[in-house]
Amino acid sequence: MFNKMKMKMKMKRKMKMKISMGMIIFFIIGISLASAIGISSDYYSGNPLIMHPGETRNIVFGELQNNVGNTDLVLRANLIDGREIAKLTDSNLEYSVPANTEGQRVNMKVSIPRRNFKGQYEISVEFNNLASSGAGTVPLTLTTEKTIKVIVETGDSSSINPEKPAFNLGWLLLIIFVIILTAYFAIQNKKLHKVR
C-alpha cells in the first residue's frame, strides 16, 4: 500500500516535471537563407587590371548570374573600396537577376591620376541581395563582396614598353650622323682655307 502511494507520488512528480519541461521547451526561429549569387569577371587574383598613370578605362566589373535555385534576385551594388579611382557607371545600381538567367553586366569607370608612379589599388564592390527570403521566417541577406586589384605601371619599364630600345637606337644613329656631318664640314672648311 505504502509502495503504491510512493509510486503514485513519483508519477505525479514526473508529470509535473514533464509540464515544467514543456514550459521551457520552445522554438526559437527559422532563419531563411537566400539562393546563390554568381559574379563572372575577367579580373581576379590571377589577372589584375593593369593600367598606366593618366589612363581612364571603362570596364565590365562583372556579370551577375542566378543559376542556382529558383529564387529571383535583386542585387544592390555598392562601391566600398577604391572610390578614389573607380565609379560604378550604371544609372540603376539595383540589378534584377531572375532565376536561371545570367549576363547582367555591372559597368565601371576606372581613372588613374596623372602621376608618374607605380602602385596598386583595390576596388571592392559588395552585392547585397534585397529579395526577401519569405514570410514566417527571419529575413536574411546574402552578400558577396568582390575585390579586384589595379596595378599601375609607369612607362619606364622595358618589359611594358618595348619601344624603348628603338628610341635608344634612333638617337644613337642621329648622334653618329651629327658627328659625321661635323667632321665633313670641318674637313671642307680646312680644304677651303688651304685653297685660299
Binding site: 521551457i24 522554438f27 537563407l33 537566400a34 546563390a36 589577372n47 527571419v138 558577396t144 685653297v195
Partner: protein, 318 residues
C-alpha cells in the same frame, strides 16, 4: 680649277643631303619597326607553317571562344570551329556524322585538365560546310569547316585554356592545331537549407546546437576562403522586451560551433571556412558545413523569438 672645286663642293653637298635622307629614313624606320614588334606581343592569331606538311591535311584556322563565361553550379557548352585544307583532295576529309564522330575531336586543356568534345554532356564535333573559294596563303583553296561543342564545368579554372582541334583523313593521317580560350573567374556560392532551427531549447542550459547546419557550397571556380556573419538580437513574439542577444550565439565549422567565434550585433564576425573549388566535381560542388550554437539562454521566458533585423552571411572574393 675654281669651277671644278665649286662643282666638287656642290656634288659633296648633294651627297651629304642623300646621306642625311638615308639616316633620317633609318631613324624613322627604326622607330616604326620596333613599334610593330611591340604590338605583336598581344597578337593571339594562329600562325600556321605550310612547310613539311606533305600531302597531310592542314588545319589552317582554329576560332576563338568568346566570351568564356561559365555557369554557376552546372556545365556550359562552348563552341569553336576550324577550317581544314587537304592537299590530297577535300574528299579525303570526313563529312558524314559517323565519320566525323570517329575522326574529329576538339579539346580544351589547362594544367592537366582536359575537356573533350567526346565527353558526356559535350555535343561532339560536326561537319558544317565546304567553302570553295577560301583565300589563304595567296591562293584560293577548298576547305572544310567543322564545329565542336565542349562542356565546361563551373569549377574549371579561370585563365588561358588551349583549344586543340584534331582531324584524321581517309588515309589515317592525323593533324592538329591550337588556339587559346580565355575563361573568366566565377565567384559563386550558395547557402542551404533555407532555415536554421533550434527545436528544443532548455532555459539556462549551455551550448545548445542548432538542429541543422548550413551547407556552404562553392558553385564557382574561385575559392571561398571565409565567411562573415552579421547577427542581430531576437525579440520575443508575445512578451515584449525579452531578447535573446546576438552575442549568446557562436558559429564555426561543423562540429565545432560551440567553441567557435562569438557573434555580435551589427558586427561582421569572421569564420575561417575554406571551400576549395578544386574539390568540386561533376557530381557535387565542394562544400563545408557552418554550424550555430546558442551558448547561453538566461532571464527570458518560453516563447517564440524572431530576429529584429536580417542576419547577413557575407563571402569576400579577392
Amino acid at each position: 680649277m675654281r669651277k671644278k672645286r665649286a662643282y666638287r663642293n656642290k656634288y659633296g653637298m648633294g651627297l651629304l643631303i642623300i646621306i642625311l635622307m638615308i639616316f633620317l629614313i633609318l631613324f624613322i624606320a627604326g622607330f616604326g619597326f620596333l613599334r610593330l614588334s611591340g604590338n605583336a606581343i598581344g597578337d593571339t592569331r594562329v600562325r600556321v607553317s605550310v612547310n613539311d606538311l606533305g600531302s597531310r591535311p592542314e588545319i589552317i584556322m582554329v576560332s576563338e571562344i568568346n566570351p568564356g563565361i561559365l555557369s554557376e553550379g552546372t556545365f556550359k557548352l562552348f563552341n569553336f570551329s576550324f577550317l581544314v585544307y587537304a592537299r590530297s583532295g577535300i574528299n579525303s576529309l570526313p563529312t558524314s556524322s559517323a565519320d566525323v564522330s570517329n575522326k574529329v575531336e576538339g579539346k580544351l586543356m589547362n594544367k592537366g585538365v582536359m575537356r573533350s568534345s567526346k565527353d558526356t554532356n559535350s555535343r561532339g564535333c560536326s561537319y558544317v560546310e565546304t567553302i570553295n573559294n577560301y583565300y589563304y596563303n595567296y591562293q584560293y583553296i577548298e576547305v572544310n569547316n567543322y564545329s565542336c561543342s565542349i562542356a565546361m564545368w563551373y569549377f574549371d579554372e579561370p585563365g588561358n585554356w588551349v583549344i586543340n582541334a584534331t582531324i584524321s583523313d581517309s588515309f589515317s593521317r592525323n593533324v592538329s592545331n591550337q588556339n587559346t580560350a580565355w575563361i573568366q573567374a566565377l565567384d559563386s556560392w550558395s547557402a542551404n537549407p533555407g532555415s536554421l532551427n533550434w527545436t528544443n531549447v532548455i532555459l539556462g542550459a549551455a551550448d545548445q546546437k542548432a538542429s541543422n547546419v548550413i551547407r556552404i557550397s562553392n558553385t564557382g571556380n574561385t575559392n571561398v576562403i571565409g565567411i562573415k556573419i552579421n547577427a542581430s538580437n531576437l525579440n520575443g513574439s508575445s512578451i515584449a522586451g525579452q531578447q535573446i542577444l546576438a552575442n549568446w550565439f557562436a558559429s564555426g565549422v561543423y562540429p565545432g560551433s560551440c567553441n567557435g567565434n562569438i557573434l555580435n550585433k551589427s558586427q561582421q564576425v569572421s569564420i575561417g571556412l575554406l571551400v576549395n573549388s578544386s574539390l568540386s566535381s561533376i557530381s557535387a560542388p565542394s562544400s563545408r558545413d557552418l554550424e550555430f550554437c546558442l551558448k547561453q539562454i538566461i532571464g527570458v521566458s518560453a516563447q517564440a523569438y524572431r530576429s529584429e533585423a536580417d542576419w547577413e552571411l557575407r563571402v569576400s572574393y579577392v
